[in-house]
């Protein structure tokens, strides 16, 4: 049997990885949903076609993240989910609406198709907002106060902007023509909003949370950590400049660049959050060590993880390779 210390770190790292991969992958397909134009049927079709083969697997990372919390840190899982009861339910309703709308819109009678498009868009927005709201409450240590809810609301809008950012970056990569031009405009706008959101969260977070402040403003560590906020800001600026350049040329080379930059921004923000709270899994209450499940059960799971996760990464890459390049009209054949 492996030591509990190692297991806590291993499962903590794996859960963090699952959350990050989820935020990037489902982030772009939620973003595409948030941006869905309700009047431009053809563009909407292409946008949905661009995420068609992937959304299902993307959502599975959420199940893995929640599942890992449930399995490895069961007490933390129940504390967090009871504290977030209503936002979780609202997020789930959003996820249900958008997940099924995707399939119904392709098959339903024409008169219902518009309704399913609305449900896809609204479901995506609700999901993103609820996730941001939960993140906000988490950062506020689930404090029940007016300022905590206001902060959570702002965080909700921040996550909508972040998903719109990575979603539009995805569209720049996967489409061309007018839709790509629109995506550049969307990307520019959401880049600004997301940058503002990240900056405000970075300022508020250490102000309200002593533990977070102690981690970021202690002399020896802050030198090591300084690159995270600086690099993140630099990436926002870089993305803005390349988008400005793209909007003035017709033939865009390296259309994958915005998506790559957006992914790096997600990664840095996530590292920032991780550093703020580690080793706590419930802020100021429970560490990963305190809430760890039985080591023998987790050792049994570990064999599976070690064998299966590389395979998952392998066939995920395979599926992205199969659907590489600009999006084709979606057909079942």
């Amino acid at each position: 049997m492996l030591s509990s210390e190692f297991l806590a770190q291993f499962y903590g790292a794996l859960m963090a990885l699952a959350i990050l991969v989820y935020a990037v992958l489902d982030g772009y397909d939620l973003g595409v949903g948030i941006l869905l134009p309700l009047k431009e049927k053809e563009q909407a079709d292409t946008m949905i076609a661009s995420i068609g083969p992937f959304w299902d697997a993307n959502e599975t990372w959420l199940v893995l993240a929640v599942g890992l919390a449930l399995i490895a840190f069961p007490i933390a899982h129940s504390v967090i989910l009871q504290a977030l009861y209503l936002p979780v339910a609202i997020m789930l309703l959003g996820l249900i609406l958008r997940g099924v709308a995707f399939d119904f819109r392709a098959k339903a009678k024409t008169k219902y198709q518009d309704a399913w498009d609305v449900s896809f868009k609204v479901g995506s927005i609700i999901t993103a907002f609820a996730q941001g709201f939960m993140l906000g409450l988490y950062v506020m240590s689930f404090e029940q106060s007016m300022q905590s809810y206001v902060f959570a609301m702002l965080s909700g809008f921040g996550v909508i902007a972040a998903y719109a950012l990575i979603g539009s970056a995805w569209l720049i990569m996967k489409t061309n023509g007018q839709l790509q031009k629109n995506a550049i405009v969307w990307c520019t706008k959401s880049n600004l909003i997301a940058a503002l959101g990240v900056i405000s969260i970075s300022i508020v977070n250490p102000l309200i949370n002593d533990f977070v402040a102690s981690k970021w403003f202690n002399i020896s560590e802050s030198l090591l950590l300084l690159p995270i906020p600086i690099l993140c800001l630099a990436l926002f600026v870089l993305l803005h400049r390349s988008l400005t350049r793209y909007s003035s040329v017709d033939n865009i080379k390296k259309s994958w660049a915005p998506f790559a930059i957006a992914t790096c921004i997600f990664l840095l923000c996530f590292l920032g959050l991780l550093n703020s709270f580690y080793p706590y899994v419930v802020p100021n209450q429970l560490t990963i060590y305190e809430s760890l499940a039985d080591p023998s059960a987790l050792t049994f799971m570990l064999y599976g993880v070690v064998m299966v996760v590389p395979a998952i990464i392998g066939y995920t890459l395979f599926s992205y390779r199969v659907f590489w390049g600009k999006t084709q009209a979606l057909s079942y054949y």
Binding site: S78, Y85, V100, A108, S296, G304
Partner: protein
């Protein structure tokens, strides 16, 4: 005001009932698709590809509904049943974890290739993806039924301060009721999908769809149903014997036996009265229950009165069991009748087609009834004999649970009606579509 426990139970029952509808179809439908695809590869007859194309759309929709309703449940363990994972998480956790790792990702990823990749990968890779999706759905059933069976027949654990710890994983996974429950569920899926395919194909034929595909799918589905439905009766009987051994109070509720009896009769119908602890309006066949369960005419069946305070509510288990068995018998008859008619006359008369349309969702009803028997039959325990449900519920205020319950009910009602409507609409559209020249899709075709 209703209490949090009751509302949480209704909410979880609603979610799991809604969820199980879709995997019940998709597990077996995935294997039907494998069959259609493989037959196409073997024979090169376009009709197999048409069958595949029609049913893959329905599969995609069914799968999506299963995914979204499944995600809901993974959160509800934490939101509504925090005690569940705190007490038995060390056993339930890894089983659920293995399901996510070995099934969910595989299904979801290869589903993308299976649905939209036909023109982008070689035919062999496409067939392979279809097979992987089918294997994934079955692996998923394997893990979740292992956990469910363990909750019915817990073994291989030790309890320290109320918390369960695993002692032997092999014993836990292959617990005493697992094999029976898994076979019973996989067969239920096969029968449900067969009747769905038969029903929708019959609907198309009734709408004067003269294409070859619906006739062919009707034939395949009825053949499968004719074999699986009687097999299910056999496996169901074995499962019943296993339950009789491990959970006698559940069987007592299924059979409506209050006092321990030798030579207990089989109640075809009765109205159990839980207050006076007796039955009214019994319609009984003497000694048959004892004969079925003990293989002796005067074998002993333990009555509910021996388990007072620790047995399930009788009515839902008793009626659920009769609905399941009644529908099961009806499906055996209908499958045999229609398949033999088809064999003799090469087509079905209109009344038989209509009968199949009426029975399109009979598998759903029977499966739900069966799950109610086994799950309500476990009450008042979450883990049979060891952990009671009321020990595990959430601290969330009951109004919050009420709001979310209403929300789920509305959404599920909407989705269920949309699903059924879309099934028949897809069939209508298939009727309208003219026979078109079918080019087998080639790798690289239309590949800009």
């Amino acid at each position: 005001m209703l209490d949090t426990l009751l509302l949480s139970r209704i909410q979880f029952a609603t979610n799991i009932s809604f969820h199980i509808l879709f995997p019940t179809i998709s597990i077996a439908l995935a294997w039907f698709l494998v069959f259609f695809k493989v037959r196409y590869v073997q024979t090169k007859q376009p009709v197999w590809l048409r069958a595949y194309r029609f049913w893959v759309k329905i599969f995609a929709l069914t799968f999506a509904l299963g995914v979204v309703s499944g995600i809901t449940m993974s959160f509800q363990f934490g939101t509504n049943w925090p005690g569940f994972m705190e007490r038995i998480g060390n056993i339930a956790g890894p089983l659920l974890g293995y399901e996510v790792l070995t099934a969910f990702f595989m299904e979801a990823t290869f589903l993308g290739v299976m649905l939209f990749g036909m023109k982008r990968v070689s035919p062999a890779v496409h067939t392979f993806s279809t097979v992987v999706v089918a294997i994934g759905t079955t692996i998923s059933a394997f893990w979740i039924l292992s956990l469910n069976s363990w909750m019915q027949t817990p073994v291989g654990y030790e309890i320290i301060d109320g918390v369960f710890y695993p002692k032997d994983w092999f014993t836990i996974i292959f617990n005493p009721s697992f094999g029976y429950r898994l076979s019973h569920m996989l067969l239920a899926s096969g029968i449900t999908a067969s009747f769905l395919i038969a029903g929708i194909s019959a609907y198309r034929l009734l709408k004067n769809d003269h294409k070859h595909a619906p006739k062919l799918t009707l034939k395949v589905a009825l053949t499968v149903a004719m074999v699986l439905a009687p097999l299910q009766a056999f496996v169901g009987d074995l499962h019943g014997l296993n339950t009789f051994e491990h959970q006698p109070q559940k069987v007592a509720a299924m059979e409506g036996v209050w006092e321990t009896e030798k030579g207990a009769p089989l109640l075809v119908f009765a109205v159990p009265d839980e207050i006076n602890r007796t039955n009214h309006f019994e319609l009984a066949i003497p000694n048959l229950a004892s004969l079925i369960l003990t293989h002796e005419l005067d074998g002993e069946i333990k009555g509910l009165n021996e388990f007072e305070g620790a047995h399930p509510p009788v009515k839902p288990v008793f009626y659920g069991f009769r609905v399941m068995v009644g529908l099961g018998l009806l499906m055996i008859l209908v499958a045999a009748l229609t398949r033999v008619t088809l064999w003799k006359h090469k087509h079905l008369p209109a009344w038989q087609l209509k009968l199949l349309v009426v029975m399109t969702f009979s598998g759903w009803v029977a499966t739900l009834a069966g799950w109610y028997v086994t799950e309500i039959g476990r009450q008042p325990y979450m883990v049979q004999g060891l952990v009671r449900i009321d020990e595990l519920v959430t601290q969330v205020p009951s109004e919050h649970v009420l709001y979310t319950l209403i929300g789920y009910l509305c959404v599920y009602a909407l989705l269920l009606s949309a699903y059924i409507k879309t099934l028949f609409y897809t069939a209508d559209k298939a009727v309208e579509v003219e026979e078109y020249e079918l080019n087998p899709p080639m790798r690289g075709e239309n590949y800009a």
